[in-house]
């Protein structure tokens, strides 16, 4: 009997079967019970309806290092009939697609409303199978199809011997639905109870004592929150002083727009759904010019469309935080699949040379803390600051101690903004040539501080010029900010283990936890590797990185993109040869991917390892954009 350590995967037809609802419910209630949950792969299609969707959730007693591998303990299949996307697999699409991931000795729970499914093969593998006519119960007995999700949740909880008296569930339902009437709460509780009873029945019929897994609440623990990476980023931004946000809807950045729409007004800010990608950033630059801490968010296509504005922000020296929730590119690519393919763009996009800063958080917590740094850096260096998250980090849902947010709150300063008292009538030069490269600025409306700001090359007053020495001085002034940054603000990589003479796995972005778990497992296998995570990617802190990486043997860069964009950057900046573990099929790295890659490279001397995903059991399936 395994307690408080399991991975459950729920699958079904998108928009129809309630996959997300069940995962959300289980994750949230487990979190309330003091358990740690992690749902790191929200596998949905970019068409709204009809494709196969699945969502694995890891539940642990202590915070898990990573989501691990693609194995699962409990499989919940919600289809009740055909998956319109794969009509050849009625009623068992999820089972066919994910059956192989299910561990021997695991559990299979499926909607048997339209009949049972042949599951002998599973039983042979010691898997306990629970048919559950959830939709039938909901429709026939309870007359409300939507409560089928609750039937499933009830069944699952019973399986896990969790919340046997429905205290957690009742409290949750009352919070949600009481204002709509007691009946709704009761209906849902009944549905859950009916689910319980069905599992009960199977257990008795089969003479099983339990399902083999259980969840035990940890009531005394500190308060945990159940939230997504986007939530953490949005909260972080607001507490960092962001009071203007703009975004044009795009997966996976739309939830950030929704978050800001919902919360920014409480804090006196405003949020704008742009009518296109450029209106968004232009409005945000306008707001920044007016004094607001401003942010835009988008994903690859929308970032590509903003390139001209980045150059403007760099040249006109307007602070702006740019969140790029990366998704699988190029072009429209795979909108709902993850990738780390925009680093080269963040570092190099745009014609000509202009200052910019590129940061990449590696965890939900860093989404909260690092975004504060992003705003401070934007303010100080008056340039675009790219914040590279990715679909995985944007959509991860996990439990986080509430304390973390309170403790991580920071003081807001706004550097270098002159006010009326600071200004002597004729002395204000918006683009004063300084040693640091940083010039004084004001917010418009300040008496005595009139500015002229332009993306055309300009003199210290901001007036247009092409005078060669002035141009040279002004361009150098702007770029000098990056040297100041390297002296005053660059941060070295996070280093786990001793890199000396060992294989070193270098990563950026959301894959850090996977690298750390691979390190732990390799150690068990007797191989010591170090992990180096780079969060401050540009200006590239050569001094801080090279000294670490040159000790590696070999140096292995792990990235979710085709070409190895960080690896290329390291070669350019450090002149060190790199090996690469690359994955770009839209799925996250699994620990086993890394381990296989390290073996190939270290043992067999391969120059690179390109992860090939298992082939899911699937018929031709198409999606949208």
């Amino acid at each position: 009997m395994v307690t408080n350590r399991l991975k459950v995967l729920v699958g079904g037809v998108q928009l129809r079967d309630g996959v997300g609802t069940v995962i959300d419910l289980v994750g949230r209630i487990a979190t309330r019970a003091g358990l740690h949950v992690l749902a790191n792969e929200r596998n949905y299609a970019s068409t709204i309806y009809g494709a196969h969707q699945f969502d694995p959730l890891l539940i642990c007693d202590e915070p898990p290092i990573s989501h691990g591998d693609d194995e699962i303990d409990i499989l919940v299949a919600l289809e009740f009939d055909a998956n319109p996307d794969a009509p050849q697999q009625p009623n068992r699409d999820t089972i066919l697609r994910h059956g192989e991931q299910l561990k021997n000795g695991g559990v299979l729970l499926y909607d048997a409303s339209t009949g049972t499914v042949a599951t002998e093969a599973f039983e042979t593998r010691g898997i306990k199978v629970f048919p559950l006519p959830a939709r039938q119960i909901a429709l026939r007995e309870l007359k409300r199809e939507v409560v089928k999700n609750m039937v499933v949740t009830g069944a699952l909880f019973r399986l896990l011997e969790f919340d046997m008296d429905q205290t957690f569930l009742r409290a949750f339902l009352e919070e949600r639905f009481l204002r709509k009437g007691r009946e709704l709460v009761d209906l849902n509780l009944t549905a859950a109870r009916r689910g319980r009873e069905m599992v009960e029945g199977v257990l008795q019929e089969r003479g099983w004592e339990n399902g083999g897994f259980r969840l035990e609440p940890r009531p005394g623990r500190e308060s945990l929150l159940f939230m997504s990476g986007t939530d953490a980023l949005g909260m972080g931004a607001i507490q960092a002083g962001c009071r203007f946000y703009a975004g044009y809807p795009i997966t996976p950045a739309s939830p950030l727009l929704a978050f800001m729409d919902q919360h920014l007004y409480t804090y006196g800010g405003r949020s704008l759904q742009g009518q296109n990608e450029r209106e968004s950033i232009r409005a945000a630059l306008g707001a920044s010019l007016a004094g607001a801490r401003a942010m835009v968010g988008s994903s690859g296509p929308g970032i590509s469309l903003k390139v001209e504005e980045f150059g403007l922000a760099g040249t006109a020296e307007i602070p702006i935080v740019v969140v790029d929730s990366q998704r699988a590119g190029p072009s429209t690519g795979m909108p709902t699949k993850t990738e780390q393919g925009d680093l080269r763009m963040a570092v190099g996009a745009g014609h000509g040379d202009f200052p910019r800063i590129v940061l990449a958080p590696s965890t939900l917590e860093e989404c909260y803390t690092l975004i504060v740094e992003a705003f401070d850096l934007a303010d100080k260096y008056q340039c675009p600051v790219f914040f590279l998250t990715d679909l995985t980090l944007a959509e991860v849902r996990q439990s986080v101690p509430e304390r973390f947010f309170q403790e991580s709150t920071v003081r807001i300063t706004r550097r270098g903004v002159l006010q009326e008292d600071d200004l002597r009538r004729d002395g204000f030069k918006r683009f004063r040539i300084t040693d640091s490269g940083i010039s004084p600025r004001i917010f418009p409306g300040t008496p005595g501080g009139i500015f002229k700001i332009s993306g055309t090359e300009h003199d210290e007053f901001g007036f247009v010029t092409t005078d060669p020495p002035k141009r040279k001085a002004m361009l150098e002034k702007r770029m000098r900010k990056m040297e100041t940054y390297l002296r005053e603000n660059a941060r070295g990589p996070q280093i786990y283990g001793d890199p000396k003479g060992r294989p070193v796995l270098v990563g950026w972005g959301s894959s850090k936890p996977v690298l750390l778990e691979a390190r732990a497992r390799l150690r068990q296998e007797g191989m010591e590797v170090a992990v180096v995570q780079i969060t401050h990617l540009w200006p590239f802190p050569i001094q801080l990185v090279k000294s670490v990486l040159e000790q590696a043997s070999p140096l292995i860069i792990c990235e979710q993109n085709y070409s190895g964009q960080l690896a290329d950057l390291i070669q350019e900046r450090c002149l060190l040869p790199t090996r690469r573990i690359l994955k770009y099929n839209g799925r996250v790295f699994y620990v086993s991917d890394i381990i296989r890659g390290v073996r190939e490279i270290v043992r067999n001397g391969a120059p690179e390892f390109r992860v090939a995903e298992f082939m899911p059991v699937t018929v031709e399936a198409h999606e949208g954009d």
Binding site: F244, H263, L289, A290, A292, R293, A294, R411, G445, I450
Partner: protein
């Protein structure tokens, strides 16, 4: 050589400080934009604004240079963008006086999406388009309003007829639509004042001849074709505005004055917090609540 109307117009010196003493005007002698500059100075003077209270957002083009020929905060971003920047500025700080000063190429060609969407959004921003039918700064290619008054036997994708900015504005939902002529800066100044007093987005299309590249739509050409909006026109009536335009079109004339003015009910916002003391010690609770 043509004269520079700007030199003759009465205008408070305050709008020249910080600007033209440092920055020579580099329009061609006789350029219509001088008239706009002159009218703008009059209007700003009339409204008794202080330069630090205004933000002039210039488009890219000969016309956009005007931001540097006037005192006041000036901004100049990418081509076609003035209105989108303006929307953000006004949302963040409704207290600033924001003007977008741009060309017909900037506004109706590369920037037409911002024109259409800004008409809908209705920020309290005044847009003055210096409409000369050409891309002056890139040496005279035809703009979307180019070819005004010229007929052609056949049209093609690469050679389409001009369109009417006034109609476009009306159909996109603009709440203030007017037209002026830089050959008559006094009248233009009156129109600008009305535009700047309008609580919402105010669009003024100013016929501002390009003496170098548009040899067809000259001052003389315009003088023969412009006509004031009739005194009995009710600018608050949308259908009347449409009819006025239809009538002028039929007669081959262009109206000068306020064609439509109908303020919307607006939600009032304050400046967003920007200073550290406004941003500190915020209560996370409203956000945290949702995650428990």
């Amino acid at each position: 050589m043509s004269t520079q109307p700007a030199a003759k117009a009465p205008a408070s010196k305050i709008w020249e400080e910080n600007a033209t003493p440092r920055h020579r005007i580099q329009w061609c002698p006789g350029c219509g934009d001088y008239g706009v500059l002159s009218a703008l100075k009059m209007a700003l003077t009339r409204l008794e604004l202080m330069p630090h209270e205004v933000l002039l957002i210039g488009g890219i083009g000969c016309s956009g240079q005007i931001r540097n020929y006037l005192n006041g905060n000036g901004f100049h971003g990418t081509h076609g963008g003035p209105l989108a920047y303006a929307v953000g500025v006004k949302m963040a700080n409704p207290d600033l006086r924001v003007m977008a000063l741009a060309g017909d190429g900037d506004t109706f060609a590369i920037g037409v999406e911002n024109f259409v969407h800004t008409c809908r959004r209705d920020p309290e921003v005044t847009l003055i388009v210096m409409d000369n039918g050409v891309y002056g700064l890139t040496t005279g290619q035809r703009s979307p309003t180019g070819g005004l008054g010229q007929d052609q036997p056949e049209w093609s994708e690469e050679d389409p007829p001009p369109f009417s900015p006034l109609r476009l504005a009306l159909s996109a939902g603009a709440t203030f639509v007017a037209q002026s002529f830089s050959g008559d800066p006094k009248h233009a100044a009156e129109v600008y004042v009305e535009a700047m007093e309008h609580p919402g987005f105010a669009f003024v299309n100013d016929f501002s001849p390009c003496v170098t590249y548009n040899k067809f739509n000259t001052y003389e050409w315009f003088k023969e074709r412009v006509e004031p909006v009739p005194a009995d026109h009710d600018p608050s009536d949308l259908e009347a505005a449409w009819e006025l335009l239809a009538d002028f079109r039929r007669r081959g004339r262009s109206p000068l004055g306020v064609i439509y003015r109908n303020p919307r009910k607006r939600k009032i916002y304050k400046r967003v917090p920007i200073w550290p003391q406004e941003l500190e010690n915020i209560d996370l609770e409203p956000m945290l609540r949702g995650f428990r």
